[in-house]
């Protein structure tokens, strides 16, 4: 079990530098339910971003509907402002296969046409199945297919590693 707060601190530093390098002054943070939202809330505070936070529930965009159906705890997606021409930072807890991010990008583009999208994740673990990479990374982990890393929260935010069964 690991405390996630200091990883988020590191992410905040990286993100601040990246935004500065790219000359982005008014980014919109969008967290993916649930873990991504918790992290995005903390980054939002640390970077003192003015634009309100967005929240995405990608249940209706998943590519595994035909195998898993709809998550019974689905929540509304909220994007509080017009995203046309804005610079977005998509935030998630674990980047694994890349499918969640793909679904989130698809959903974002149904709201509008952003100027750019950056991806910030707490954990970049091995096992990518799509050509998707993060711009901001809290930590990297090399895990076997059966291993599971999970973020629990919102208070305290903790990373749990479950070994392969």
């Amino acid at each position: 079990m690991r405390d996630a707060e200091f990883l988020i601190e590191a992410m905040a530093g990286q993100l601040r530098d990246l935004l500065a390098r790219r000359g982005i002054s008014e980014p919109v943070l969008v967290g993916i339910h649930s873990g991504g939202v918790w992290i995005a809330e903390r980054l939002h505070q640390r970077l003192e971003i003015h634009a309100p936070l967005g929240r995405l529930d990608i249940s209706f965009y998943r590519d595994d509907f035909s195998r898993l159906g709809i998550n019974p705890q689905v929540r509304p997606s909220e994007l509080p402002c017009d995203i046309d021409g804005r610079h977005l930072v998509l935030v998630d807890d674990v980047l694994h296969t890349g499918r969640t991010v793909r679904a989130a990008l698809n959903e974002l583009f149904d709201y509008g046409r952003p100027a750019s999208v950056l991806l910030a994740v707490l954990v970049d673990r091995s096992g990518r199945e799509l050509p998707i990479e993060a711009n901001v990374i809290g930590t990297r982990m090399k895990l076997s297919a059966g291993q599971h890393v999970q973020l629990t929260g919102p208070e305290p935010l903790q990373l749990t590693l479950q070994p392969a069964p």
Partner: protein
């Protein structure tokens, strides 16, 4: 008495949506919460979700109804499904083909969902019992029996304004006897723990032992509307006069029509609802139907999100394996 209903799988998940009766609060809440997530989709630039991409939904209407069919069609299209509309009232069934034959033929077109409307009570359940297991059946109204998606959109609309069901008094007014909407709504409201459900109608428009459904019976509108939070008006069909259930539309409106004066007897913020289509001046006064307390058009809008939710839940449960992983 109620063994596992055909609409549930062995783990109690919805495979079809045929009736509200016998469902749990968890089922209803899941539908309402999912619908809540889908509600804002209509405000986006792209009003479409990819969820049912590649699925085919067939509107099997044995009884004509453009309005209901349209909302199901829109719901399916917003979920990216392909939609086929079959008005069987005017095609094969009349020519003597049996319902099962019709069903087999449409099944052969590789469909995933049937939305069924039929004049006979129990028709949707009959179809659900006889379709191939991968097909989900939604009841869009069967005889006098059930109209469960209408009931869900009604409670969805109520919940958005007044979420505290145990402290609500709801009155349903008019032709309860012939109303599948009323039966399904009564079940949905009871399951959600509604404080009091009243039905208000002359005796000719009430079914036998209606009180066994858990409702209070009133014959006097003014008395029955006192202090209610929600008034649901039902549509009165013209045939009721011909079958000697009522003397005239005028007398019905005088006794049971919702006017501004009568609405004033309910709570000041009482919602006025109607499943549509409205007969202005028969069951409801135009000024009330178009007034500030009316949520009738909101019901129509909400119907799409609620039907999208039910479509994605039932089709999703068909996909999901039984041994659920955490």
């Amino acid at each position: 008495m109620s063994t596992t209903h055909v609409q549930l799988d062995p783990q109690g998940r919805l495979l079809h949506f045929l009736t509200v009766e016998g469902l749990t609060r968890r089922h209803l809440t899941e539908i309402l919460d999912t619908a809540e997530s889908l509600h804002s989709v209509a405000e986006r630039r792209v009003k479409k979700l990819p969820t049912l991409h590649g699925k085919t939904v067939v509107n099997l209407f044995f009884e004509a109804s453009t309005r209901t069919r349209t909302t199901f069609e829109l719901a399916a299209k917003r979920l990216s499904a392909d939609v086929l509309n079959l008005n069987i009232a005017t095609s094969s069934a009349v020519k003597g083909e049996s319902l099962l034959d019709t069903l087999r033929n449409i099944e052969a077109m590789q469909c995933d969902m049937f939305v069924v409307r039929h004049v006979q009570s129990g028709a949707a359940e009959f179809i659900a019992r006889h379709v191939k297991p991968h097909i989900a059946v939604l009841n869009a109204g069967d005889g006098r029996h059930a109209h469960p998606t209408q009931a869900m959109l009604d409670v969805f609309t109520i919940r958005r304004h007044k979420p505290d069901f145990p402290n609500l008094q709801v009155a349903i007014v008019g032709d309860i006897l012939h109303s599948r909407v009323a039966r399904s709504l009564i079940h949905a409201l009871s399951i959600l723990g509604t404080g009091a459900i009243r039905v208000i109608a002359p005796r000719t428009l009430l079914p036998a032992h209606v009180e066994n459904l858990g409702v209070q019976v009133f014959h006097d509108l003014a008395y029955g509307l006192r202090d209610v939070d929600v008034v649901v008006m039902l549509r009165l069909q013209r045939e009721r006069m011909e079958s000697a259930l009522l003397p005239s539309e005028q007398e019905f409106f005088q006794r049971y029509g919702l006017t501004g004066e009568r609405l004033a007897l309910a709570r000041p913020d009482a919602l006025v609802m109607h499943p549509g289509p409205i007969n202005r001046g028969v069951e409801i006064d135009s000024r009330v139907a178009d007034g500030p307390q009316s949520v009738i058009l909101e019901q129509v809008t909400n119907g799409i999100a609620v039907r999208m939710a039910i479509m994605s839940i039932t089709l999703g449960n068909h996909a999901r394996p039984l041994e659920e992983t955490a």
